[in-house]
Subunit: 478 residues, 2 copies
């Protein structure tokens, strides 16, 4: 450990131990330098590191302060979905999303898009440009069906951060996480089967279940600890469950991360009932603090967990690069992937592998973690200020999505309709349930809260909610 | 029409009418210039055009000749597959192909890879490089789920060449033709259904049928005219067929193109029995002569035909860009595509759209058509010379694949095994059947016959066949 890292670590420990609280002023640079007998510049480096890590902030002409996070907002209650396997509800709303993706809305709070304007992605663009010139023969031809060897290698290397020991040969590259999920579902289920999901749940998974002719059984889910293991065990007793599909870390949309001991208990349950788990870890690397939470896969010794992820949220969705570590289902999933799309485009695979190998991915993540945590805090603050009494908000520890429970009388489909007239979109809650629940919930993205349009959009949403509560009819479009 | 085009057209007519035969010497430039009262350079331009079109050739110090093509080889007989719906045979062989894609074989006659070294693809690379620099925000984000508007526009424009009137909104971009086929199959079938295919048939389709839990019914297929309509009608009478899946133009592997009147009759049959057609047109644009054959879709007034294609064979497979014109199944296929992979990567879509818009695609195709026809002729010549007595060879009018029937006693799985020891691979016939038929058939690629390795490989294959006929055992690898 370098000297400045030692100093930073000491300061961090003191914060963690409660010697300094959020918002407290820290010792001056000179003071700390004297205390530790180190140079001024070493202390400056130490404070710089803590700023990079999102632990402290510097206030001009005043000094360094412990960064203040939002107080935990009032969380939504544990969900209570329909306790029966269901054919997932019609996808009219989703169709709307698909077709309207490129519509005229200017503030799309509805979409889960990461920050792709950040300077930390410049090296990626440079790599794509360079490789497009130098690797022409490779980028024009089919890549290996399982994916580029370099990229599999880098992904295996990164997996260590989530406590997971993966061999590059255990990884199959896919077209985003969606293809990983879709192939995994197809490999382990047959029409008529029942799959367990958390509730609310990412619509791409729930609808993929539907399209496979499989039923979804939604399990009550807590906004901090995730799926209820008691309810899950009851479900295993009661129904012939074929598989479980979860996003256990920095969940979309609810924001929970299952504690490790829940992850371990879940795995034991799965073993007892001999059921595979499809684990979606797409937001795992965007955890605000390090080390990031472990995947359930990292506890799995039997190849029972199919780990799916992608770089769509941590880097850029336009790359369309995801992956699956399919455990004991490798042969079948490889086959389904091959017959879905033969292979994944080579250019972006190569560029991403280099981006990771050269350390740019970690630099980028470090910046994004800080930004997204600030975005979360800012948007939660505005929601508390502008939304009607009784609003509850999730408090994710990673990623950039908030799940907002509005007063009962507010139908978010209607809210979305009204918001779109003001060029704002939200993701209505019903998208996230098999049974069309969550009528008074919405999911919004906090990315890029520094853009004044975001604060303005929240204020507008607050006004619209209050108009709806006062039953003011929507003005007819002219 | 320009003057030189008129002259070229007159010469072409005379060839077509039989005034000149293949290999005949054509009038001298001076002679033709006098006959038509045009300048020497106009005639030179006219001959240049006919050379570009692969109609004539110039022999140094001798003059211009009508290009000589191979005499039609002895064709394989009409196939007689098992007349029952079958669960497609195990995919061990295909797994082998997937996993061994990047193995050490140096002459991969087994793979259907186009020529990607040609100078006519340079503009595409340039466009990718440029767009990666200038369109960063777009290439990092999700493209519309149905695909880039520009590319859909270009595809609709090109469809006119196959007699088809398509609106850009009728097109959905996919990850190669494989995703188009896979989504179409998933949209129109359910497990337990029966789908009709030609026989032999592209393994990617047959295995996609299998993985959907659907049975395949193979129909006898003629090497020039394609699927037997009589047999098809009988099948429609006898079985509850859910869909038909065919590659009716420049078929892989058999090389047939259904005559227009067959295409029309097929459509009438489909209408009578109310069955949808999945039409795979991936080799359609590589027809050697213009105008290219019409798609069955072009005769369809009911939205019954789902047209699938890609630029994997006509441009480059590494782009992974295909498309589907889903007719009346649009909504369902759009949904399946969305849930398979959300959307197709934007960079290559944009580059390809520009490549087509700027006329490079047509230039490239013109060159490829000539090259592939020459490749076909060269490889057929070598096969006739080197392969055992009784060998039969397909005679495609487009594309670059040959289907070769070897004497009965030659098992091409064994031939492939022996060939790989000499660093050559072939695609064994059993890959192309649901029931493991075609044991003594192989599919080989003719691309780049100018490379001496190809001729050498054919000679080696001939020797190996004769060794197998003489029952010379394979030397044990050391
Ligand atoms: C939880 C979750 N899983 C999967 C996906 C699909 O991601 P990709 O773009 O990598 O296919 C998303 C995208 O929104 C997501 O939120
Ligand atoms: C007849 C046929 N259809 C579809 C495909 C799949 O092509 P793509 O690479 O566009 O997915 C192939 C590739 O070999 C093919 O030959």
């Amino acid at each position: 450990m370098k000297l400045y890292e030692q100093v930073a670590s000491t300061v961090k420990d003191r914060i963690d131990l409660g010697y300094y609280h959020e918002g407290d002023k820290l010792p001056s640079v000179r003071g700390l330098s004297q205390e530790h007998g180190v140079s001024i510049s070493t202390v400056q480096e130490a404070y710089g590191l803590l700023m990079d890590d999102g632990v402290i902030e510097s206030r001009p002409k005043s000094g360094y302060y412990v960064l203040k996070h939002q107080e935990i907002p009032e969380l939504p209650a544990t969900s209570s979905p329909v306790p029966e396997p269901l054919v997932v509800a019609q996808w009219q709303k989703l169709k709307h999303i698909i077709e309207e993706y490129h519509n005229q809305v200017s503030t799309k709070l509805s979409l889960a898009l990461p920050d792709t304007e950040t300077a930390t992605l410049k090296p990626l663009i440079r790599l794509i440009t360079e490789l497009s010139r130098t690797e022409t023969s490779r980028i024009l031809n089919y890549e290996s069906a399982v994916g580029s060897a370099e990229l599999c290698h880098q992904i295996a290397r990164l997996a260590v951060d989530s406590g997971c020991r993966l061999h590059p040969d255990e990884i199959i590259i896919t077209i985003g996480c969606q293809e990983a999920l879709s192939c995994s579902l197809r490999a382990v289920t047959e029409p008529g089967d029942i799959v367990v999901v958390d509730s609310p749940s990412f619509f791409g998974s729930v609808q993929a279940i539907k399209i496979n002719g499989v039923k979804a059984l939604e399990i009550p889910t807590h906004p901090e600890t995730g799926i209820s293991l008691e309810a899950l065990e009851m479900a295993f007793e009661q129904w012939p469950i074929r598989a479980v599909l979860l996003t256990p870390t920095n969940n979309n949309p609810l924001g929970y991360s299952m504690p490790d001991k829940h992850k371990i208990r879940l795995l034991a349950l799965l073993k007892r009932y001999d059921i595979p788990l499809i684990e979606d870890d797409i937001y795992g690397d965007l955890n605000y603090t390090l080390p990031r939470p472990r995947t359930i896969k990292s506890f799995d010794t039997e190849g029972r967990v199919i780990l799916c992820s992608s770089f769509s949220k941590s880097v850029a969705p336009g790359l369309r690069i995801g992956w699956v570590a399919p455990g004991r289902y490798r042969e079948h999933i490889m086959m389904v992937k091959y017959l879905s799309s033969l292979s994944t485009p080579p250019l972006t695979q190569m560029a991403l592998a280099e981006f990771i190998a050269q350390g740019y991915y970690e630099k980028h993540l470090r910046k994004m973690r800080i930004n997204y945590q600030r975005d979360r805090d800012a948007v939660i603050g505005w929601l508390k200020r502008d939304m009607p009494e009784g609003t509850r908000i999730s408090y994710p520890q990673g990623g950039y999505l908030l799940w907002v429970e509005l007063p009962n009388e507010i139908d978010t489909n209607e809210l979305d309709r009204r918001a779109r007239l003001e060029s704002i979109s939200i993701a209505p809650g019903t998208l996230f349930s098999a049974s069309g629940k969550y009528k008074n919930f919405m999911r919004i993205s906090c990315v890029n809260s520094a853009n004044p349009a975001i604060e303005k959009a929240i204020t507008t949403l607050g006004r619209l909610c209050k108009e709806m509560q006062a039953q003011i009819p929507l003005a007819e479009p002219v």
